[in-house]
């Protein structure tokens, strides 16, 4: 069995785009069923922001499987997000 996909969503809490992304993740829920999702608020972890050199948020990162893929934006374009991260089609 293939290892589960790990996704990490980096946000800066309180900003409109990050708040929208937190809601957008809900819309992706069906596609995320087979993936683990972590949410990191960079206000609480500025060291992570520095380590990952994050300038633009919200940032959804496919940590595994490799290669790492990054999507920046409020996830309003679910189709594009799915395609970029290689997520399965939403089941009807």
């Amino acid at each position: 069995m293939a290892p589960r996909m790990l996704l990490r969503l980096y946000v800066v809490g309180g900003t409109p785009a990050s708040e929208r992304a937190l809601q957008g993740v809900e819309r992706l829920r069906a596609a995320l069923e087979d993936a683990d999702l972590e949410v990191v608020d960079l206000r609480e972890r500025p060291d992570v922001a520095e380590q990952e050199r994050i300038v633009a948020t919200p940032l959804l990162m496919r940590v595994s499987p490799e290669p790492v893929r990054r999507v920046v934006g409020d996830l309003s374009d679910a189709e594009r997000v799915r395609w970029s991260l290689g997520l399965p089609e939403a089941r009807a």
Partner: protein
């Protein structure tokens, strides 16, 4: 200006720049440095932090939007700045917001750069930084092709930096040296103060200047000031010290080295003045400056002679022919000769070299032979600024200066006008050929003496192995080509 509006200043770390800024960079404010590509913006940003660490032990944060930290660590080693060592000591921190290809990112929807604000705040808090440099905003805008997000983030960064009480310097690109302040047109509204760096080619000569465009609530020097970039020192600004125009000449007189010339000048040259000796080739300009040196030495005054035309050996041999022993004066410490090729450096660097010679030797008199040679390596504008700087510096640090300049016309041409010399110099001594029938002789006149009555008559002079001998006033019949005398 009342004291409550006075803004505390911090040293910029750039030699001469604090004079231009009227005391330094405004503390706890953001200053924008804009310039075209290659104008020295990144250097200004790095030097701002480096000097804070070296001179004041203040930690700094460098936010880079363009060059990688590795490139900055490497590129500034030649200036004597070991960024990597400062990082290890916790004095220098990078916030790396430069583009990385491996971080290839897809954009899907709206976003902002709030993370940048988080990172800058974090770096300042962690290191206890007192200074922050951001280089350069245009790269941030280009990286995200989103000017709105970049602008908002930079405004937020500026507000946070002010909140944290740090002094900040931010750089931005401009398209042309004389055009809009910045390429993206918003940075000047983020900053309290705006400084412009220029790098122009003028008649094949490079000309670097710095200009303070806006300094909120503070006095500063207006206009473009020359600067140069030196290995081991970074940017060095040469302020045009216009204060020289208000100079109050003391009534004290100094010997020209020739009693007859002293009499013509009404008792000698003034203390705190710059004397110009002008004349065609072979009229005796170097001879007159040699007398000037000897006149000082006979009074125990020390002279620094900067020669741009003749070697030291040549100068000594010439002087010996006139019975003046420059070698002996060098030995007893009343003379220092510095012979330099005009083409060996830019005018800015020549002026800096001379300033350090003056600081070291502490002369009473400074002689420069000749300005004509120096003019070859500069533009008219740079030359004028050099002259003003030179004049002020000599008056500030020595008693008197003498400069020589050649006229192309053997009859004495309009050299003073072309070189902007007449307004800068306080006294002008003219040497020229005269025609008496078929015979050509030489004559001397004191054309200008600021603040004094003096005899303007032309007098013939001769030269022998005791130097110059000045005769009685001549009756001049006309000034057609060579002055015809009776």
């Amino acid at each position: 200006m009342s004291a409550e509006y006075e803004i505390a200043r911090v040293a910029s770390g750039v030699d001469g720049m604090d004079v231009v800024l009227g005391g330094g960079l405004p503390q706890r404010r953001l200053t924008l440095v804009t310039g075209t590509a290659g104008s020295g913006k990144t250097l200004a940003a790095v030097q701002f932090l480096a000097s804070g660490i070296e001179q004041r032990g203040e930690p700094g944060v460098f936010v880079t939007f363009e060059e990688r930290p590795g490139a900055i660590r490497r590129n500034f080693r030649s200036f004597g700045w070991d960024v990597a060592a400062w990082e290890e000591a916790g004095q220098w921190s990078f916030v790396d917001a430069s583009p990385h290809v491996e971080d290839d990112t897809v954009i899907a929807g709206d976003y902002d750069l709030a993370s940048l604000v988080v990172r800058v705040k974090h770096a300042v808090a962690e290191s206890g930084a007192r200074r922050v440099a951001l280089d350069s905003t245009g790269s941030l805008v280009d990286q995200f092709a989103n000017a709105v997000a970049a602008r908002r983030a930079l405004f937020q960064v500026a507000a946070e930096l002010q909140e944290m009480g740090v002094t900040a310097l931010m750089t931005a690109e401009r398209g042309e040296d004389y055009g809009p302040i910045t390429r993206h047109g918003f940075e000047e509204f983020v900053a309290d103060n705006v400084v412009v760096l220029r790098n122009t080619l003028e008649v094949e000569k490079r000309r670097r200047t710095v200009e303070v465009l806006k300094l909120r609530g503070g006095a500063h020097l207006k206009g473009e000031q020359l600067f140069t970039i030196r290995t081991g020192r970074g940017m060095v600004v040469i302020p045009q010290e216009t204060v020289s125009l208000d100079y109050d000449p003391s009534g004290k007189r100094l010997s020209s080295g020739l009693p007859e010339l002293d009499a013509m000048a009404g008792g000698g040259y003034f203390d705190k003045s710059l004397v110009l000796v002008t004349g065609a080739a072979g009229t005796g300009k170097s001879l007159l400056s040699t007398h000037f040196i000897a006149g000082g030495a006979s009074n125990g005054e020390r002279t620094l002679l900067h020669s741009f035309e003749e070697s030291r050996g040549q100068l000594l041999r010439n002087a010996a022919r006139w019975g003046l022993d420059l070698g002996a004066m060098e030995e007893d410490g009343t003379l220092r000769v510095v012979a330099t090729l005009p083409e060996s450096a830019s005018l800015e660097d020549h002026l800096l070299a001379m300033k350090s010679e003056i600081a070291e030797f502490k002369p009473d008199r400074v002689a420069i032979d000749s300005l004509t040679a120096l003019q070859r390596v500069a533009t008219a504008k740079t030359f004028r600024e050099y002259l003003l700087g030179l004049s002020f510096h000599i008056k500030e640090h020595a008693m008197i200066g003498m400069v020589t300049a050649a006229t192309e016309d053997v009859g004495g041409g309009p050299v003073t006008g072309e070189l902007h010399l007449s307004t800068v110099c306080d006294a002008i001594v003219v040497l020229q050929y005269i025609a008496r029938g078929a015979e050509v002789a030489r004559a001397i006149a004191v054309l200008k003496m600021r603040g004094s009555d003096h005899a303007k008559a032309l007098r013939e002079y001769t030269v022998d192995d005791h130097g110059m001998h000045i005769g009685e006033p001549l009756a001049v019949r006309g000034w057609s080509r060579l002055p015809e005398v009776l």
